[in-house]
Each structure stands twice: as C-alpha cells, then as structure tokens.
Symmetry: C2
Subunit: 86 residues, 2 copies
Amino acid sequence: VKFHATILIELKDGILDPQGRAVEGVLKGLGYRVEGVRVGRVLEMELEADSETQAKETALAIAGALANPVMEVYSLEALKPLQEVL
Amino acid sequence: VKFHATILIELKDGILDPQGRAVEGVLKGLGYRVEGVRVGRVLEMELEADSETQAKETALAIAGALANPVMEVYSLEALKPLQEVL
C-alpha cells in the first residue's frame, strides 16, 4: 500500500533561528503583530509499506535520518493511504 | 488573545524541486522505498488577534505575504489559542 506522509523538521526551542528572526522583522515592518517566528522544513513524500503501522515506523525513521538530532526535532504531521490524498 | 499558527509554504505540484529530488536520492540510498519527495517550509508563530476568525485571516495574509504566488502554495496547518499550546 502506498501512503502519503507529511513530516515536519524544526529547530529545537533553545536554538537561535536567524531566518525566523529575519521573517519576524519583515512581518513587523508590514504591521503584523507577531512574535516567536520559527522557520523549519516540511517534507511530503509517498512511501510503500505493508500496513499503516509499518508506514508510520518508516516515516519516523526517515524523519530521524533527515533531522539533526542536536539541533532539530521532527514530527509526523500526517499519514494517509494514497487514495485518500488523490 | 494570542494564537499559535503553523503555516506551510510548499512548491506547486508542477514546479521542479531539486532539494526534494536530492533528499529522495539520499533516502533511496538508505534503502527506503519513497517517491515524490517535496521539501517546503513550515513557519510557527504567535500572533495577537481579537478573535479566532481574525487570527485566521491574519495568518493567511501572512502566509500570502511570505509565499511566492508564482511558484508556491500556502496553507494554515494549525491555529490554536496560546494557552492550549503551553
């Protein structure tokens, strides 16, 4: 079965985020009342697995492989059988 | 009221994604059966608004300001009053 996975990889709370700070400055310049802007990565992919449980394990293993364990945290934002996505 | 917003900004389907292709190559090299890997940005932020409706409007306006309308699409992944996040 094919699954569609959405993975978020974000900087840990304590880690300085210069890109987020720059975006926050831009948004404040535009007049928006925002704080604590953080920029991370989102990965979308299709993966082949025998069951939803296996798909979840695979997606989390992939997220773990792509994240930097010292500076980043990852989460599985969504996991759906592919026909539901189409 | 303060809200926590999670915004996704991703390349449109037809747009070539070299970073996604590179990540896909790495994952396949590690033995994962993945396809169609796409890499985008996730933004987390706190914003001040009078109501959830206003917060949603503001978050979508911010997403629209940060996305490139020619190449990217944006979506509001999550919006929660701040106390629920803490």
